[in-house]
Symmetry: C2
Subunit: 469 residues, 2 copies
């Protein structure tokens, strides 16, 4: 019986009914030419149900009895009740994205069964735009976000004429060459890129933006931002939460974010974090709950250097979101200064030290189920913002194009909101998961994200690609 | 802040992720003349969503913080997130009863949110027979099965032309005269009827059945059956369970069961329990798991004497199911003897004593979450069989006829199966809820129930109403 590392068991130990520790994803597929949504859904259901050769990751569950061994060791089921794990759903009319997000919100609130491998896959019909959605739920003790996306990507093909699509758990996929390797852009180099880019602190600033904007964050000093360990303020995000969730999701053209990044010589991640900073400021103002001190965001950083698609390998950097700053340009400068400093801290650590630093950052999670803990302890950070790279080119499953790939992450006691995003070939896909009762009108953050991107485009002096009124 | 009686808080205390303590119901409605299923579903959704005047029972929740006060006291929400509590669903094709039962199975496994009133209502379309289903989930700390059915019944009308249908939680319903009272058959007299009939131990035996059969259970002596406190055998029903459930349901014409009861001078409840005895014997033989000793069933008995539709008022009698007896006639005799004896015990108790006896019977529930408890303690009983009276005449909601009314009860550690049934005007509606992993092919019990009823018809010498091959 294989024993669990603490980076896996912590997600089982910290889990309560109010704080389920599964993450998920929502993928949208366009049926291939001449295929109806119903036909695609049935093709997926039949293919997935008929796959009996299931790789070990999808047969792995906490050992029995759950209370004694279940957080210490894994066991493997020989048979899987596929009818339980693979579910079919139809949205009620009118079948808008709203009904789809509602379906995910309600299902993401429910705990996974610990007496079987802890994953579910829902194939969802009834979207009025003719697409088919797949919502997946998998326990964080099994995979982290990067591993999960790698699983998805490995099951897809860059070739629209490929008809070898199979279930995501098919053992055959383990023998398939990962599509990303064939393009020469290795996952490893992509994952380490954001850290590598932190070296470019003094890099040349190019682009067409106003000079004042460029200078604002080029002239960074150590005094210009809060140190990584500054305490986060108490906010409505740092509260004990109920079990109900609300999921909100939206995608933006990658070109828009890239244009801002190029104009200002900052990374895509910098753009994303600054969008979140602006959106959270606006949302907290809506709620009449903006703290005087700036929000602190934790951003998980992968320390994974192999091609494995199992387990967890994550540390974190802390970013000052400068939500106290009303001016978008100054807010951007403060955010960038803070994340660059934080990346320098991480870069000075060995992989093991980085993991230990991450563990220390997330350690309070394990204490969160203790009554009173959240309320009496100042938060270390207010919100998790996670950027997980997805497939970098158009991908297909049996000819059906992947047209959206949204992460559905974890809200926790003291972390009522999680923002995770996935980059795909042409899109940046944001998935927001929040405590439904504690964060009213969560979906308004999507509008604020759009406004924050507008603001950044103005700072960068780039023209939005869409029509401007 | 009102404090909870232990008969309510015990269901909150005993609840774990593997052992959710909510019960529910599945009702089927036939759209009125000229109305489509979609139109009926939309009418229900709109009516339920537009009811803002919500009676206190549906605004009541465990006080916060849940861990400190939540199992001691109730609080009341002023506002309800109706969009969360009332849900709309569509079954995937082909929309058979099988897809409906699967929907209920999967949703009944999920815990209710404790930070809001603990109930949900799902309006389900997509049945190929044109009916609309309503699946409800309500925490057992709020209501027992009888109260829940009374809530339903109070929202329906015996008049097919009545168009005053409203939400089940509408305060207006509190002022509506309960329809049952208008017929003169009071709930109290119906509930106490089975106990009253126990007095007829020496009653005349009438009917057309074979004489031998009648004599078999007329000649009861105290030696012919196990005493009420005989230990139950260890079976596959008395095991720790996972959180996943399977729900199976079927209805039989009440006339068939009444014919058997009349022929043998036994109650409807006697017929039902003997059907369960035969079905469980056959199922355990299927599973190669029939114990040498007979199964013991606990049958909750209401001690409620008022018209309240809140709270819990339940005791229990123990029945020897004689599953060791291969002969249907001898099995029937042993079951009847045992239940009559048990009823005599209860009849000798005051209402308070009866409740205390019930509490002692169910006390181990509160200990079940403790690791190892179930496995090391001999079970007091193997299965719960509960008979809850439903509406005694045809009932309608805005002209849509109630055409099926199935209970969806609770499985627990050590009680992997629960059989609850509801009698309506013309039908006896069985609902079986079981632990999905621990009780394979649970739905086969339905076939065995039908066979057991056939056997009883032979013993009673009554002709089945359906065509016999």
């Amino acid at each position: 019986m294989p024993y669990m590392p603490v980076t896996e068991s912590m997600f089982l130990i910290a889990e309560t009914r109010e704080q389920p520790m599964h993450a998920g994803g929502l993928q949208l597929f366009i049926p291939r030419e001449g295929q109806s949504a119903t036909e695609l859904a049935e093709e997926i259901v039949e293919t997935f149900h008929s796959c009996a050769d299931i790789r070990p990751l999808f047969r792995k569950r906490p050992a029995s009895p759950a209370a004694l061994l279940g957080t210490l060791a894994w066991s493997y089921d020989d048979e899987i009740d596929v009818d339980y794990h693979v579910r079919r759903a139809v949205l009620p009319r009118p079948g808008r994205i709203r009904e789809l997000l509602r379906y995910v919100s309600l299902n993401h609130s429910a705990l996974l069964d610990r007496t079987r491998p802890m994953w579910e896959l829902h194939i969802i019909e009834g979207l009025d735009d003719g697409r088919v959605a797949i919502y997946t739920k998998i326990h964080h003790s099994l995979v982290d976000g990067i591993s999960a996306l790698r699983l998805l990507e490995n099951s897809l093909s860059p070739d629209p004429n490929d008809r070898t699509g199979t279930a995501w758990w098919d053992t055959a996929l383990l023998r398939r060459r990962p599509p990303r390797e064939t393009t020469g852009a290795s996952l490893r180099s992509r994952l380490t890129a954001p850290l590598g880019q932190a070296l470019n602190l003094t890099g040349q600033i190019v682009g067409a933006g106003p000079a004042a904007a460029k200078i604002a964050w080029a002239g960074i000093t150590d005094d210009a931002f809060a140190p990584p360990f500054v305490p986060a303020p108490n906010t409505i995000l740092d509260v004990p939460i109920g079990s109900a969730r609300r999921f909100a999701a939206q995608q933006w053209p990658r070109q828009r974010l890239d244009a801002v990044g190029q104009a200002l010589d900052i990374t895509l991640n910098d753009v994303v974090v600054t969008m979140c900073a602006g959106a959270l400021r606006a949302y907290l103002i809506d709620q009449d709950a903006l703290p005087d001190d700036p929000l602190i965001a934790a951003m998980p950083v992968s320390t994974r250097t192999d091609k494995s698609s199992e387990g967890n390998a994550v540390t974190a950097i802390m970013a000052n979101l400068a939500t106290d700053q009303p001016d978008p340009e100054r807010r951007l400068a403060a955010v960038i200064a803070s994340t660059r400093k934080a990346k320098q801290v991480i870069r000075g650590l060995s992989p093991l030290q980085a993991l230990a630093f991450g563990a220390a950052t997330f350690a309070p999670l394990a204490l969160a189920p203790i009554p009173g803990f959240v309320r009496s302890t100042p938060p270390q950070f207010n919100v998790l913002i996670s950027n997980v790279p997805g497939p970098s080119r158009p991908m297909y499953w049996n000819g059906a194009a992947l047209d959206g790939c949204y992460p559905v992450s974890i809200a926790m006691h003291g972390q009522a909101l999680n923002i995770t995003l996935t980059t795909t070939a042409d899109q940046v896909n944001f998935g927001l998961i929040g405590a439904r009762k504690e964060l009213p009108s969560l979906q308004r953050i999507l509008t604020h994200l759009d406004t924050a991107l507008d603001d950044l485009e103005k700072v960068a002096g780039v023209r939005p690609l869409r029509s401007v009124p």
